[in-house]
């Protein structure tokens, strides 16, 4: 009796969750559907399937790619994200290890300033920071990596410090006895141990930098457009924009993220949980 009741309840729940899944996916699916319709058939009837009259094949994709230079935007996004994440991992892990292992007043102060920077909203520094970038000639895909290192430092140093604290000192002392210098000790012994937290830091920073809009638009937006900046660029005046191209570019912006998620799903979810709990 109870078993039958539980089973029925289970089926009902699965049904409910399946409906919710459809609701969750529907917005992306509707955008995909509209990306194959002529631009004047989108706004008024976004829920209609493309038909013989409205279907335009890949026309929107061709238009959109040309209008915003999608492939160069993709290239800039990829270069900036991969470059920044690599630099952040290397530099902040070294910094975090050093300030955790060599406690002085200065390193302690540094730690608190890094933690403090996490709560400062971007609007607080956006104007002065972009002037600074301008002054120092950092308005290019290389310079922006340095800026991302500065902005990513807070969270990354914080997460690395928490992990370094849990590594037993005896391992590092063994390396000292073997005559390693600090660099060898860090790269041969410590960095490999940091692997799990490195993955978390990499995923959190990659998700942030890939999707970031305001910072790249202020610093390099006039010359180098990343994907979010390029999508926003498509928005001319309200109503005058090419809805078809917009739909197609939204699809192209989502595809890399879905692929990334498909391959690294478990790590992403684990990384996001670890990041959230330590924040």
């Amino acid at each position: 009796m109870i078993v039958a009741h539980k089973k029925r309840w289970g089926i009902l729940l699965t049904l409910l969750l399946s409906i919710l899944t459809v609701v969750f996916i529907a917005p992306v699916f509707i955008v995909l559907m509209n990306s194959f319709k002529g631009q004047f058939f989108i706004t008024d009837a976004p829920f209609a399937f493309p038909d013989a009259q409205t279907f335009v094949g890949l026309q929107n994709y061709v238009n959109g790619v040309q209008k915003i230079g999608f492939f160069s935007a993709f290239g800039y996004s990829l270069f900036i994200t991969v470059g920044s994440v690599a630099v952040i991992l290397l530099c902040t892990s070294m910094t975090a290890w050093y300030i955790t292992r060599h406690k002085t007043h200065i390193t302690r102060l540094l730690y608190y300033i890094f933690v403090f920077s996490m709560i400062v909203p971007f609007q607080m520094v956006m104007f002065t920071m972009s002037k600074m970038a301008n002054l120092l000639g950092l308005e290019n895909p290389f310079g922006i990596i340095l800026i991302y290192l500065g902005f990513g430092a807070g969270l990354s140093v914080f997460l690395y410090c928490g992990f370094v604290k849990s590594i037993p000192l005896s391992i590092e002392e063994a390396a000292d006895i073997d005559g390693c210098n600090p660099l060898q000790k860090f790269f041969l012994i410590v960095f490999p141990i940091l692997r799990p937290i490195t993955l978390t830091v990499a995923i959190l920073n990659a998700m942030w930098i890939w999707n970031d809009y305001l910072l790249p638009s202020l610093v390099i937006g006039s010359r180098y457009r990343t994907i979010p900046v390029a999508v926003q660029y498509l928005q001319g005046g309200y109503g005058s924009r090419d809805m078809g191209a917009l739909m197609a570019m939204l699809v192209l912006a989502i595809i890399p993220i879905i692929l990334f998620y498909a391959f690294l799903q478990k790590h992403i979810i684990r990384g996001v949980i670890a990041g959230a709990i330590k924040e």
Binding site: G10, T14, L17, L20, F24, I25, P27, V28, V31, T43, D44, A45, P46, C91, T92, M94, T95, Y98, L110, I113, F114, S117, I119, V120, P121, F122, Q123, M124, V125, M126, F127, T128, M129, M132, A133, L146, I147, L149, G150, V157, N181, P182, L183, M207, W210, N211, Y213, P228, V231, L246, M247, L250, A253, I254, I257, Y261, I268, I269, I273, I277
Partner: protein
């Protein structure tokens, strides 16, 4: 040995420190200073005292409107996101088949950037509204609920995952003992599950709170403030004060400082609450 390390200190610290100074610390301090000055290019600043802070509230009602709009949005979002995420997490920890699949799907929107999210929902909401012959720019009410729906779609999956992790940490014996003692489902939820879930609830509340309060990209893409500036949130108002008007840089910076203080206040309260809870355990 200690001297040996000192030789390497710059190698370990310098790259991060230089970047941190350039992109955060100097701009942050300069920002505080500039909020008390009038300037257009940073180098031509003249001291004006608190004038910018007064102007932020008196020149027009934009900042105050943005504040109330942001506050209302934050309250509604925090409540709805956390309630829905908790219900989902609760259902997904009942040991159903396919749980992993559902979890994976619900998390997807969180990976998509704010600008793209904004345009996805602009299409959907305008599509629904066009049946009534209007669109998002018709009334601030539509923009408000549009933003709430968008925020829920984006954050529910993320918060759900944290709640699931929290629920899985609660030993099943606790619930079994409660059941043996004759507690009903709701009683167990209220007196056993929820208190043990407090750490997750604090994290999720904090994350949704700061994310809603600081929202920018989604606001810019979905409504850009329309109609007029009625759906403009604080971050967007600050942006428009800097880049959408002339001679307002000082006012923009003063608004930014106020914005920072508000966010910092949230963070401090959060820290207090978490600390006091940890002491109880």
């Amino acid at each position: 040995m200690q001297r040996n390390v000192r030789k390497y200190v710059w190698l370990f610290l310098l790259p991060t420190l230089i970047a941190f100074l350039i992109s955060f610390l100097i701009p942050f301090l300069a920002g505080i200073y500039l909020s008390f000055t009038e300037f257009t290019t940073v180098t031509d600043a003249t001291w004006v005292g608190l004038q910018n802070y007064v102007r932020a509230f008196t020149e027009d009602r934009d900042f105050l409107n943005a504040f109330w709009f942001t506050l209302k949005f934050t309250i509604v979002s925090v409540l709805s996101v956390n309630l829905l995420a908790f219900i989902l997490a609760f259902l997904l920890t009942k040991g159903l088949r396919g749980t992993n699949f559902f979890r994976t799907v619900f998390f997807v929107p969180n990976l998509i950037g704010g600008i793209v999210l904004g345009y996805i929902w602009q299409l959907i909401i305008n599509g629904i509204l066009s049946g009534m012959g209007v669109d998002l720019t018709y009334s601030a009410t539509y923009g408000f609920w549009g933003l709430v729906v968008l925020m829920n779609w984006q954050m529910i999956g993320y918060m759900m995952i944290i709640y699931v992790a929290g629920l899985q940490n609660i030993p099943t014996e606790m619930q079994e003992v409660a059941a043996i003692d004759g507690a009903g489902g709701l009683q167990t939820l209220r007196h056993v599950t929820l208190p043990l879930l407090m750490p997750s609830i604090t994290i999720c509340t904090f994350l949704t709170l700061t994310n809603s309060f600081k929202m920018f990209d989604q606001n810019l893409a979905l409504t850009a403030g329309a109609p007029g500036k009625e759906t403009q949130m604080l971050a967007l108002d600050i942006y428009n004060t800097f880049y959408g008007s002339i001679g307002q840089e000082g006012v923009g910076q003063a608004k930014a400082v106020i914005f920072f203080l508000l966010v910092a206040a949230f963070a401090l309260i959060q820290l207090r609450v978490t600390k006091s809870r940890e002491a109880d355990l």
